[in-house]
């Protein structure tokens, strides 16, 4: 007890400084999590408030873990995260390299580049729902008008096209974040090594591969970490575009959880699923965070 008191006294200033942050996160994140952790062991159903006290042990977890559909959604979420994050990185990198070469009007160009970031996820969902509609959608209308196809392409129905469509929407919305973070990296980059390499006769590709890219890696990991933090925002998009359907073809963990929680009003079960999905997010973030730390050390900047 005295040791604890001494620790607090010795570190009074930093503790005081971080305590507001910790307090607000305890209140907004931890408190609800404790509540939902408890309910995941009950038969809690929204419309039966008394069921909050109906302890059922690990039945929710047993059912969730034994549910094939849940694992399919789980797998699809992992696939979605992997595909989306990597493509966003790739496109973001390309975009950043391109904008970095612009000398005139770059500020405007950067703002244009960030244009999709201004869109609320829910709006992005509606936008692509209409663009990809199979009868009145702009994409189908365009393809048919150009004579590229006679068929109405069921973008939001076909197993792979539907997955492609939701991934496309998510990539459209979030590539800018990668681009802007990588662009920041390019700005910070010292020019001398590149010029020296060019004098030595290195090709553009060699310069990129051996000088630019290693320097950018920490920025890339930062972008990855940030994106994996809030990638669950894709829920709004998918929910509007397909609602996880048809026939569960675009079901991600988040749509499954939301439907179980609100439409079915089975909160206990939904929270059991939510815990599994939180573990997944934590894993992704942790993974990139580790990479980031390693890259920082590598740069010798830490």
């Amino acid at each position: 007890m005295t040791r604890l008191r001494r620790t607090i006294r010795d570190n009074a200033v930093p503790l005081a400084l971080i305590s507001p942050a910790i307090l607000i996160i305890l209140m907004v994140v931890l408190l609800p999590l404790i509540f939902s952790f408890y309910t995941s062991f009950t038969n809690y159903r929204l419309i039966r408030p008394d069921s909050l006290w109906q302890w059922i042990g690990t039945r929710n977890y047993e059912r969730v873990l034994g549910d094939w559909d849940f694992w399919v959604a789980f797998g699809r979420t992992v696939l979605f995260l992997t595909v989306v994050l990597n493509l966003e990185l790739l496109f973001g990198l390309g975009l950043a390299l391109l904008v970095n070469r612009i000398t005139w009007g770059q500020r405007t160009m950067r703002t244009i580049m960030m244009f999709p970031m201004m869109f609320s996820p829910i709006l992005v969902g509606f936008q692509f729902k209409y663009l990809f509609n199979d009868t009145i959608g702009l994409v189908n209308n365009g393809l048919q008008a150009l004579g590229l196809t006679r068929e109405a392409i069921p973008f939001l129905v076909d197993r792979w096209l539907a997955f492609f469509s939701i991934a496309f929407a998510e990539i459209w919305m979030s590539t800018s974040i990668f681009a802007i973070l990588i662009l920041a990296g390019l700005f910070a980059m010292p020019k001398d090594p590149i010029e020296a390499a060019k004098v030595d006769g290195c090709s553009n590709w060699q310069v990129f591969r051996h000088i630019t890219l290693p320097f950018l890696m920490p920025f890339i990991y930062i972008a990855m970490t940030i994106r994996s933090l809030d990638v669950a925002r894709a829920y709004d998009i998918v929910d509007v575009m397909t609602g996880g359907g048809p026939a569960g073809r675009t079901e991600l963990l988040w749509t499954l959880i939301a439907r179980t929680a609100y439409d079915d009003a089975r909160m206990g079960r939904a929270n059991a699923m939510a815990y599994v999905s939180i573990l997944l997010s934590i894993f992704f973030t942790w993974f990139f965070f580790r990479k980031l730390m390693a890259a920082r050390k590598h740069l010798g900047a830490f």
Binding site: I22, L33, M118, T285
Partner: protein, 281 residues
């Protein structure tokens, strides 16, 4: 090819790519000035026949037989909520970031990591427990309730960016200032804060955009014009049997434009802030 032509060519190529990227968004903006019958039809009408401001007039309740959307309230709520939560998040994040950068204390690394991980909890997993707790506290459907939540989700990222920044400001500067007779607070405010300004600005813009566009949590925690934000207001255009897509697009323009202007204004700081904040430390 001269450098000049090459530059011009790069510019044009970039511009065209940007345009393609922006197309889906521009489609929304264009749709805001068209009628539902013209946007959603087959065969498509590619060249707008008649551009109209009716969608905007309808939102503001002008025109014949329209039920207006309380867009002024939504706008005010969005503004108050986003600005306040951004301000508070930056303030709290900055003090936290300063502590992580300047002091060592037991459990520092673990605390830092757990603060970051708190952001990974999906909104959908938080929304219902939050709703129940908030309604017991009587802050459901209040701006305060939403501000509290947005502040919390923006704090981790702010800590991260500002921490890197303060670490980069040499410790000696603060000490020198204190020797010169400044209080620690003055030393921070006059010496360290200005140097970390871009980091704070970029944390701020990210926090603002997150709050401005957030839907999943706001849709649970807000109910009436007392606290409903613009993205939640978008759903006013959907009914059981119909969706007024043109109206929704008009509303979208009202949401997007302020965010766009703000982003343009803080551009310079944004890039600089991200550069030093995250990595160099």
């Amino acid at each position: 090819m001269s450098t000049r032509t090459k530059n011009i060519l790069t510019w044009i190529v970039t511009f065209v790519i940007m345009l393609i990227i922006c197309l889906p968004g521009l489609w929304i903006i264009l749709s805001a000035f068209r009628t539902n019958g013209e946007i959603l039809t087959k065969p498509a009408i590619w060249i707008p026949q008649n551009l109209t401001l009716d969608n905007f007039r309808a939102i503001f309740g002008y025109g014949e037989n329209v039920v207006g959307i309380p867009v002024a309230s939504y706008f005010r709520n969005s503004l108050v909520i986003s600005v306040t939560s951004t301000f508070v998040a930056v303030l709290i994040g900055m003090t936290g970031g300063y502590a992580f950068a300047r002091y060592t204390f037991p459990g520092k690394a673990a605390t830092f990591l757990w603060l970051m991980l708190s952001r990974t909890v999906p909104g959908i997993a938080l929304s219902l427990p939050l709703f129940i707790i908030w309604s017991r506290m009587g802050i459901i459907d209040t701006q305060f309730g939403v501000i509290l939540v947005y502040t919390a989700i923006n704090v981790p990222f702010t800590i991260w960016l500002t921490e890197g920044f303060f670490r980069q400001v040499p410790r000696d500067l603060n000490e020198a200032a204190q020797i010169d007779g400044c209080t620690p607070w003055q030393a921070f405010w006059k010496i360290e804060f200005p140097l970390a300004k871009s980091g704070i600005a970029s944390a701020g813009i990210f926090a603002f955009l997150t709050s401005w566009n957030e839907y999943a949590l706001a849709s649970q925690l807000t109910r009436s014009t007392d606290s409903k934000t613009l993205p939640v207001g978008l759903m006013d255009f959907t009914a059981q049997f119909t969706i007024d897509w043109a109206g929704m697009c008009a509303m979208a323009v009202i949401i997007i434009v302020p965010a766009l202007i703000l982003t343009f204004l803080v551009q310079k700081h944004l890039i600089a802030g991200l550069t030093f904040g995250g990595v160099k430390g």
